[in-house]
């Protein structure tokens, strides 16, 4: 048992004890005997689709009074929490991880018609030119993984990560592609991965939200808040956006003019009055409310402290490359580490500005993107090192990627060569990496053709990645369902295959 395990065990016990205190013996017994009545909605699971009779996992009990209490997964998972770094806009695999010397040779030539026939692109029209890699590559570590010069720090982590080089999607617009990646459907209305995970596992620290979302300033992802929405799951499972400006959690700070002592006094008074109410009405919901107010208070104490990265030592700040007072990725990555350390189940980060079309300098591969590479290189490296040195990497699954890839062709918007070097959206191949959480180290799965246009082996899609993440957390994605509109829905819809090759 690692030190962190012990801390978490303690947190868990504390939370459970606090719950117990709030229950009179009578209520507790009654509740256990009654079960959850009709609210154990999982009992309605039936086979509209793939579940053969009898092999469904036991239904997940949803207790509306304590919906976030930690629960055990159906089988022992290797990962306890997830940090998902999504680079919204879709970074270019060809400048970072997927080294294609052949493409260099074709640089500037017209794109062969075979690559264009019957294909649909977001902006490319007519015949574009091929565009060689805008970076130098070298092999790193014992695993000899190719990583470009743009990621000097990350190159040192080659033997700790697992690359998926043949990820594909069928969505070439940002919003649907992001939704597909995070909710299993290109349309609005499905729960996001973090919602599924907190629905299934609850969270270990009741003083913090279980599913935290951090965006690095700029704009939200194109798909808006739906990428962390709870869809048809109860709203308590939606991602809580923790903000770098204003209150870290909405309404977490006391109003101006109300000091902490008064807040405490006021919650004490509320709860005392509620106890009196309970004596009168005997409604167990009142006890739940009392415990929620206590939790709210603890969250008020804990969250601003946990969400404050300023108390981290200087060398940690240096390692992540944080920037004081700014809403930036490095700050959020450091915060993500703090959060999983404190028992937050799922931390979803969104960075922005990766849409390298080359229609202006800011999004060109050899100008604007250089800054993006720098902004991510140091902090994602630091995250892995930091988790490792704390013994947390093995139980924390880190995922990094975008919603699709970029074309080996240079973008020619409306048939005219773009003024800067850029690539269009590309669905047929891109790279995602994973680390920790029981994933193989120093391993590469999947391969693209010699110009990085399409997958030739080890092809995977969003559903496979989702299935694998759930697997690492202890769920069989096919049995992890929720009944809605008359049928059991799952994160992976009707697809998904666990990528066994990358599991350690």
């Amino acid at each position: 048992m690692t030190k962190q395990d012990m801390i978490n065990q303690r947190l868990l016990k504390e939370a459970a004890a606090a719950q117990m205190r709030m229950h009179t013996r009578r209520h507790f017994l009654k509740e256990s005997a009654m079960g959850l009545g009709a609210l154990a909605i999982g009992s309605l699971l039936g086979g509209c689709g793939s579940n053969a009779a009898g092999n469904a996992e036991p239904a997940i009990a949803f207790d509306p009074a304590r919906p976030l209490l930690p629960k055990s997964p159906p089988f022992a998972g290797k990962a306890r929490s997830v940090i998902y770094l999504h680079m919204a806009g879709a970074p270019s695999q060809l400048e970072l991880f997927d080294f294609k010397p052949e493409l260099m040779k074709m640089d500037g030539q017209d794109c062969p018609p075979s690559l264009l026939a019957g294909k649909q692109f977001a902006f490319i029209k007519g015949v574009p030119k091929m565009l060689g890699p805008q970076a130098k590559f070298a092999q790193h570590g014992d695993s000899r993984a190719w990583i470009s010069e743009h990621l000097p720090h990350f190159s040192t982590m080659a033997d700790d990560v697992c690359f998926l080089k043949a990820v594909t999607t069928d969505q070439f617009n940002h919003a649907p592609a992001q939704l597909l990646m995070h909710t299993g459907s290109p349309r609005l209305g499905r729960p996001s991965m973090g919602s599924w995970v907190t629905y299934g596992l609850g969270t270990e620290n009741q003083n913090l939200p279980g599913f935290v979302v951090l965006t690095s300033g700029g704009s939200f992802p194109d798909a808006g808040k739906s990428v962390w929405g709870s869809g048809f799951l109860p709203s308590v499972y939606q991602g809580v956006q923790c903000r770098s400006e204003g209150d870290p959690v909405l309404f977490i700070n006391d109003p101006k003019g109300m000091n902490r002592d008064l807040r405490k006094a006021s919650i004490d008074a509320i709860n005392e009055a509620n106890q009196q109410e309970y004596k009168n009405y005997h409604d167990p919901e009142i006890l739940s409310r009392i415990s929620q107010y206590e939790m709210a208070y603890r969250m008020q104490i804990t969250a601003p402290e946990v969400m404050n990265i300023n108390d981290e030592p200087d060398y940690i700040h240096e390692m992540y490359g944080t920037r004081k007072g700014e809403a930036c990725l490095a700050n959020n990555v450091l915060l993500a580490r703090k959060l999983v350390e404190k028992g937050v189940r799922f931390v979803q980060l969104f960075d922005w500005g990766w849409d390298a079309h080359g229609d202006h300098a800011g999004n060109s591969l050899n100008l604007g993107m250089i800054n993006k590479y720098r902004s991510v290189d140091k902090c994602m490296t630091a995250l892995l090192l930091d988790l490792k040195q704390r013994g947390l990497l093995e139980e924390t699954l880190v995922v990094w990627g975008g919603e699709f890839g970029r074309t080996p062709m240079m973008e020619n918007r409306n048939g005219v060569q773009n003024p800067f070097k850029g690539r269009d959206h590309h669905t047929e191949a891109f790279t995602i990496w994973m680390a920790g959480g029981g994933i193989k180290k120093g391993y590469t799965h999947g391969e693209t053709d010699e110009i990085g246009y399409s997958a030739v082996s080890g092809k995977v899609d969003a559903f496979d990645i989702q299935a694998t993440i759930l697997n690492q957390l202890g769920f069989n994605h096919e049995n992890f369902t929720y009944p809605f509109q008359g049928r059991p829905f799952r994160l992976t819809d009707v697809g998904g295959k666990v990528i066994r090759e990358i599991i350690a």
């Binding site: 009654k30 509740e31 005997a33 009545g37 009709a38 609210l39 309605l44 039936g46 086979g47 509209c48 689709g49 579940n51 053969a52 009779a53 009898g54 036991p58 919906p67 977001a122 617009n173 919003a175 649907p176 349309r187 609005l188 209305g189 704009s219 939200f220 194109d222 798909a223 808006g224 808040k225 109860p234 709203s235 204003g246 959690v249 309404f251 977490i252 109003p255 003019g257 008064l262 807040r263 006094a265 006021s266 008074a269 509320i270 009055a273 109410e277 009405y281 005997h282 409604d283 167990p284 919901e285 009142i286 739940s288 409310r289 929620q292 709210a296 969250m299 008020q300 509109q485 008359g486």
Partner: protein, 914 residues
């Protein structure tokens, strides 16, 4: 270990259950009942391989004729009357695991097999689920006690469980309960006092009647309906831009306030446009269906999202209005309920011929004429009737109201020097550009209307018949403008249905060939105003043209395609639009066709008539169940979204049917009468305290006590506004934007901003809060408001710390606390803090505060007063500018009272309806 233990319990329970079934079976002579005896076994043990998606071995148990049909083995698996030769029974009893069914799963229990045997012997009859059978008149149980028939049904059940009803709640609780339930806020003080002071039994009835007559009633219940209607002020999807559809919300409020019969309420929303000579209101009602999301993101396929919207409409009427999950059938036959795959597409066909095509302009729109020009519209319509007859009058009226039928320019093809911008926005054309509009009805046509944008002088449009170089039948010069224009033009009368080629030429010079110089939204070609030769024509023609050219905002509505644009209806194999199957015609599912009149038209109006037929088994039950759930917290069928075989068993089925029958017959579909009956029952008026006599009924399914549940997001906000004296009673109009923290709205691509409303619009009822689908108002969502992306038949109440944080710290709540404190001061009998707290409690609960609670709050007051006396700057910070100018002592008192007010707004009894 744990799972093993569970399994043991499970087996023990099954044995008990089965023993029970067995005992019942042995002692009873009656026939095996399919629904209660057989279907549960089939659904649990057989159907996942033999029905719906899968029919292993060619054997399906979904429908009787399927089950009796020949299987892959060449013979049927069930022979009615002959269990010994029925393969199904044989396979259940084998020992070879490869042969024995259920395949690779535990064998059926002996008792189950003998039930199945008996069932086959008795003819293998299929039965219907209760919810799919018409509602019958019920006999009221002969039970003593209670106020009305509802109580008779409830008391009979209680008696059977050895329980008794709770006494009546005290007057104060009852006043608060029934007010929040019926109007969502508190009534005027005079009404409240009249009830509290009134002694006789009639007082409650009078209170109920005045609440039902209040305009607040429609606002309260609109919130419930808008979840079903998935009403929002934005379009959804990625860019989630603004949608101007608030007139629909106001229509709902008005319809509920005027107690529009529920059947009419449905007919107008589903088919208002197809009623004879529809009113403006009836057209606005059809926006119910335009609340489906639409997608403006660049590059998306309009046809795909037109289909999505139609499927959403189908799912909405089934789930929201008929309590049935139908979405399943999109991909395959329903595994449990009597609906076939093909029937989904027959049903979808009712919606497939709408004029709406997912274009960003959301056409067709009902143009919102100011009342002042309505006489002129009447004049034009009357003229047309006189000169051209009723059909022409209806045509001109529709044209003036909506410009329909018009062709969306995004459907143009054969493009030369032209593109459909972003594949879905508009038709954008360069110099000498040409585009084809297909299938245009030019019979007797001599007039056209175009909606376009062009700021280039010198442009001319030429309209040609059938070919890019075909004969020109009309030309029009394009006057430049910085705004979109709607232009009417004329041409010699044409005949026939044609493809129209529209060509742009510019002789002005100075255009680059790459420049897109004109963009079209839509075009209409039609007959001119009749009566050219009659006196007064010129004048009326001028009015007509002026009305057509008026720039007006519009509300999205439903309208049908004219005959020449009718789309083909096909089945999508496995739900995929790109694999079209056989052609179908509009129809309701066969299993429910008995409720359809033979004279019903084969369109949405026929659909609405079917739904509102007294024979229809689902519509009345669904609304009764929904209203019941709103008042008692749990529906008679808990699964509001599904009364089918997978839904939960009703707690009081006879009561549900009694009320449904009453609604359709005695109450003539009046929802107010239905609600009145329910709230007048003694069941509703019971005290909500838990007592030992209520036994184990934790969820109060048997109703041995009154309802006690957390208020909805809307009720919470409205109540707090109400007690703090801030509530605005202003009704209707565009969504308002009360205070919300910065940075909640952050949409990609559109610059929409949360622009905090001024004045009383800050304090409007929650139903008027601007609803952005991708980012709803934070406190609504934390208290389980629906996202309104799709139909939400039921909100699941949760209890979380984020809710506590909202009512504790949200600035909107703090603002209300401050005003509440001031109201406590002004309504207290003295300056004594306990008098003020007592007054505050009374404002909230209509009764005096229990001594113990007063002590608790007094202590909080004293603690606060100490802090604020010591630090006046803290008091000033807490209070708003207005109150922060008084004497330090007074300020400290107000601040301390604000803390108490904030606590009062957070009490469980405040957040809960007792």
């Amino acid at each position: 270990m744990i799972r093993l233990a569970n399994k043991k319990i499970l087996i023990a329970v099954s044995v008990l259950l089965v023993a029970g079934i067995g005992a019942a079976f042995l002692t009873s002579e009656k026939a095996v009942d399919y629904s209660t005896d057989i279907k549960p076994i089939i659904n649990k043990k057989c159907i996942s391989c033999h029905g719906g998606v899968k029919a292993k071995g060619g054997f399906s148990l979904l429908f009787r004729e399927e089950a009796l049909a020949t299987t892959e083995s060449g013979k049927p698996a069930i022979i009615p009357g002959d269990p010994d030769h029925s393969e199904m029974i044989r396979r259940l009893t084998l020992t070879d695991p490869e042969e024995r069914m259920p395949y690779k799963h535990e064998a059926l229990l002996k008792e189950e097999i003998s039930l199945l045997k008996k069932w086959v012997k008795q003819g293998a009859k299929w039965g219907d689920h209760w919810a799919y059978l018409p509602v019958k008149q019920q006999t009221i149980p002969d039970v003593s006690g209670g106020n009305n028939a509802i109580d008779a049904f409830v008391l009979e059940k209680l008696k059977a469980h050895d329980l008794s009803a709770a006494p009546r709640a005290d007057k104060a609780d009852l006043l608060r309960r029934v007010s929040l339930d019926l109007i969502g806020v508190y009534p005027d003080d005079t009404i409240a006092q009249k009830f509290l002071q009134g002694g006789d039994q009639n007082a409650y009835g009078e209170l109920v009647d005045s609440l039902l007559a209040s305009p607040r009633f429609g606002e309260r219940w609109a919130s419930v309906w808008l979840d079903i209607a998935r009403y929002a002020d934005t379009k959804g999807y990625e860019s989630d831009g603004h949608r101007n559809i608030w007139k629909y919300r106001d229509w709902v409020i008005n319809a509920l306030n005027s107690d529009m019969p529920y059947n009419q309420f449905i007919i107008e929303q589903v088919a208002g446009d197809l009623l004879p000579d529809p009113t403006e209101d009836q057209l606005i009602a059809t926006a119910f269906q335009r609340n489906a999301m639409s997608n403006d993101e660049g590059g998306t396929d309009n046809e795909e999202f037109r289909n999505s919207a139609n499927m959403d409409r189908v799912n909405t009427v089934w789930e929201g209005l008929m309590g049935t999950t139908f979405a399943c059938v999109q991909c395959h036959s329903h595994p449990y309920d009597p609906f076939r795959h093909e029937e989904y597409y027959q049903f979808l066909a009712y919606y497939n011929n709408g004029r709406d095509e997912d274009v960003p302009g959301e056409f067709p729109l009902l143009r919102q004429f100011p009342d002042s020009v309505k006489p002129e519209i009447d004049a034009v319509v009357n003229w047309t009737r006189k000169a051209g007859g009723d059909t022409e009058a209806a045509r001109v009226k529709l044209l003036l109201r909506s410009y329909q039928p018009a062709v969306n320019a995004t459907t143009a093809d054969s493009l030369q020097h032209a593109v459909i911008a972003n594949n879905n926005v508009n038709l954008s054309v360069q110099q000498n550009g040409i585009a084809r509009l297909r299938n245009i009805d030019l019979n007797n046509a001599s007039e056209g209307i175009l909606r376009f944008y062009s700021n280039k002088p010198g442009g001319q449009l030429v309209f040609r018949l059938d070919k890019a170089d075909g004969p020109a039948f009309a030309t029009m010069s394009v006057k430049p403008s910085d705004r979109a224009q709607t232009v009417v033009f004329e041409y010699p009368e044409q005949q026939g249905i044609h493809d129209v080629f529209i060509q742009y030429r510019n002789t002005g010079g100075g255009l680059k060939p790459d420049d897109f110089v004109i963009s079209f939204d839509w075009m209409a070609f039609h007959r001119g105003l009749p009566g050219k030769t009659l006196p007064g024509y010129t004048e009326i023609k001028n009015t007509y043209t002026r009305l057509l050219r008026m720039e007006l905002s519009g509300t999205p509505i439903m309208l049908e395609n004219p005959d020449n644009w009718k789309r083909k209806n096909v089945v999508f194999e496995r739900g995929n639009r790109h694999t079209p199957g056989k052609e179908v015609q509009p129809a309701v599912p066969a299993s429910l066709r008995f409720a359809q009149s033979s004279s019903a038209p084969s369109n949405r109006l026929g659909l609405a008539m079917w739904m509102t037929s007294p024979q229809h088994p689902l519509v009345s039950r669904t609304i009764v169940n929904r209203l019941w759930e709103q008042l008692f917290g749990t529906g008679i069928v808990e699964t509001l979204e599904d009364m089918g075989t997978q839904g939960l068993t009703p707690s009081h089925q006879a009561l549900l049917d009694y009320l449904s029958y009453q609604l359709m017959h005695d109450y003539q579909w009046s929802l107010k009468k239905l609600l009145r009956e329910i709230v007048l029952s003694s069941t509703y008026q019971q005290d909500s305290r838990w007592s030992e006599s209520a036994g184990d009924d934790q969820y109060n399914k048997l109703l041995a006590r009154g309802p006690r549940l957390r208020l909805s997001a809307e009720q919470l906000r409205d109540q707090a506004l109400c007690v703090s004296g801030l509530l605005s009673t202003k009704m209707y109009g565009p969504g308002v934007m009360p205070w919300q923290p910065d940075g909640i709205w952050n949409s990609p691509y559109n610059g929409a901003r949360w622009q905090q409303s001024a004045g009383e619009d800050q304090y409007r009822r929650a139903v008027y809060t601007y609803w952005k689908r991708t980012s709803p108002y934070p406190s609504m969502i934390s208290f389980d408001g629906a996202q309104r992306v799709v139909c939400a038949a039921r909100r699941i109440r949760t209890n979380t710390p984020l809710q506590a944080l909202t009512t504790l710290n949200d600035s909107a709540y703090l603002d209300m606390s401050r005003h509440y404190a001031l109201r406590m001061i002004s309504s207290a009998a003295s300056k004594d803090p306990s008098a003020r707290i007592t007054a505050g409690y009374n404002l909230l609960f209509f009764k005096s505060i229990p001594a113990e609670k007063l002590k608790t709050l007094q202590r909080l007051y004293q603690q606060s007063l100490e802090v604020y006396t010591k630090s006046p700057e803290e008091a000033a910070a807490l209070l708003s500018k207005k109150e922060a100018t008084g004497e330090p002592k007074e300020m400290a008192e107000t601040a301390a009272l604000t803390i108490v007010a904030n606590a009062l707004l957070n009490l469980d009894e405040t957040i809960t309806k007792n």
